[in-house]
């Protein structure tokens, strides 16, 4: 990094302090490294250094067959693995022009929304913890545990689910599972209110989040923010509404947006998304159609030559897959992920400039990144 520069200020020579936040730091949510240049406690500039968790998933995927890749997508956003699975499978289905049965699309919707709640729980917990509210962390993890139980019952895994197949679902949902999902919705409704009681009107929380990291709509779009971080700035962009996938076109839900675009707005947006997700889960579970769970999938998956980009709304933002098939081999020619965390993280230096060190952790939490996805 550059050497500290000496300012000749009004009266004294003051040194800028260069400080390495991470890659081992309790609030960088993994192995993120932020090189901060500080003037006192004020951030003059920040440089984000990533790649510590780079496993070459894109390169790996170009050497695995189409089915094996599902399992690699688990390892990207490991707090929302099912969403990555769905995104990948839908992209391949689009490439092959496969018809997915309605029941499978409904279950996908349920899983995606459960996953969104789980991911937001983790976000809420760590975000609150970064700002010092430690109890919310455990409350949020308590509810996330319930979702993990549901996933475990569905596919046997608790973190990396491998829960999708190209063309549909690998498994029929267990008997009684839908009832459990509805029960969970009932519990979660009350819990979201509990989180809000602890934080939404808490004076310290308001002071710590309001006016911190303000970014307006057009700038947020330009810098590539997506998902709740973009909606916090008042841009009603939601892939579920704009380019519906799975069964979202049959669901009724609202897209919450913020007004100012500060950390508090992003917080409110995600809290409201809890409720909207529950609403979607209820609709999908109650209206779950009967029928097959897998469409007409050829035994050997070999999409015709061509390329496509398909995006879904992951809990972090727009998760896109750009896949090129050469039509000859059994693995993709080019496998590209548009990771929402990566693109959102890009805005971090812009957001932290001029704020204090304590706000840096609040802002890292507020854009909700998972380093597994940033680095792939």
């Amino acid at each position: 990094m550059s050497t500290p520069t000496v300012h000749h200020g009004a009266m004294f020579d003051t040194n800028e302090l260069v400080i390495n936040m991470g890659p081992q730091h309790p609030s960088t949510h993994g192995v993120l490294r932020v090189v901060l240049r500080l003037d006192g406690e004020k951030v003059v500039d920040a440089d984000v250094v990533i790649g510590y968790l780079h496993r070459g998933i894109e390169k790996l995927s170009e050497n695995r067959n189409w089915t094996q890749i599902v399992l690699l997508t688990d390892r990207m956003d490991y707090v929302a693995a099912a969403t990555s699975n769905v995104g990948y499978c839908e992209t391949v289905e689009k490439l092959m022009s496969l018809e997915v049965p309605r029941r499978a699309r409904y279950v996908r919707t349920i899983l995606c929304e459960l996953q969104r709640i789980a991911s937001h729980c983790l976000w809420l917990g760590t975000h609150a913890m970064d700002i010092g509210a430690m109890t919310v962390f455990l409350y949020a993890f308590r509810e996330r545990e319930l979702i993990l139980d549901l996933f475990e019952e569905y596919c046997g895994a608790r973190l990396t689910y491998n829960s999708m197949r190209i063309g549909g679902l690998p498994l029929e949902i267990p008997p009684g599972w839908d009832q459990k999902v509805l029960e969970f919705c009932k519990i979660m409704d009350a819990k979201v209110d509990e989180y809000e009681e602890l934080l939404t009107h808490n004076r310290i929380w308001l002071e710590r989040t309001k006016g911190v990291g303000v970014i307006d709509g057009p700038e947020a779009v330009a810098i590539g923010l997506s998902g709740p971080a973009l909606r916090g700035s008042g841009v009603p962009r939601d892939v579920r509404k704009d380019e519906p996938y799975a069964a979202y076109d049959e669901m009724e839900f609202d897209v919450p947006i913020g007004t100012v675009g500060d950390t508090y707005d992003r917080y409110l947006v995600r809290i409201e998304e809890f409720r909207q997700s529950l609403r979607i889960i209820r609709q999908a579970t109650e209206g779950l159609p009967e029928g097959p769970i897998v469409g007409k999938v050829p035994r050997l998956i070999k999409p015709p030559a061509g390329e496509t980009y398909h995006a879904i709304e992951s809990p972090k933002g727009e998760l896109g897959y750009f896949i090129v098939s050469d039509g000859k081999s059994t693995n993709p020619y080019r496998f590209r992920v548009r990771p929402p965390s990566f693109c959102n993280l890009q805005a971090l230096p812009r957001l932290v400039r001029g704020h204090l060190v304590a706000d840096v952790v609040a802002l890292i939490g507020s854009i909700d990144i998972v380093l597994g996805e940033v680095d792939r």
Binding site: G224, D242, T308, Y309, R338, F342, Q346
Partner: protein
Amino acid sequence: MPKAAPPTGPPDPPPPADKTPPAFVASLQSAIAGSVTHVSYWVGDWTIVVPATQILNIARHLRDAPDAAFDLCSDVTATDWPPRGTGRFDVVYSLYSTRHRHRIRVKTIVGEHQPLPSVTSVWPAANWLEREIYDMFGVNFAGHPDRRRILMPEDWQGFPQRKDYPLEGPGELLMENPLDWLKLRQAKEEAEIE
């Protein structure tokens, strides 16, 4: 698996007769002459192929023209087609308009050392995405404000996402010092001959 000849590029089929390209493609063509060399439609996605030299003007037009208004650059990526020789890389921009809610894929073909103007000035979002392409493919972005490696270590040799990059990786030594690695490999081969 039989070793097939390496592909030379995506088919990029032209749109079927019943599909007409979106209006902004025509207006782009008329605003900047020769800007769209090919229009393709495949599984619901529209793709235009544009010349690399014009990319900055095209990007600006696509962002600012009211009928296009592509304000969100959702992805920039590349594909490597080694048999094509001079123009081995496809650089693919996936654009989205939050106003009109439509998408377009803009594709341009560049060679290994051929400079490609960076679109960071048009879409700041492209900054890291282009850095990643540089890191992974070695595409030479001109005018990029911060052209460093992003995912790989700063002293990494080679560009891992290229198709001719060894799958087993370069080995520990190559990473640190490629010359030592070459000597070591040579010595090893000579030892085997004896």
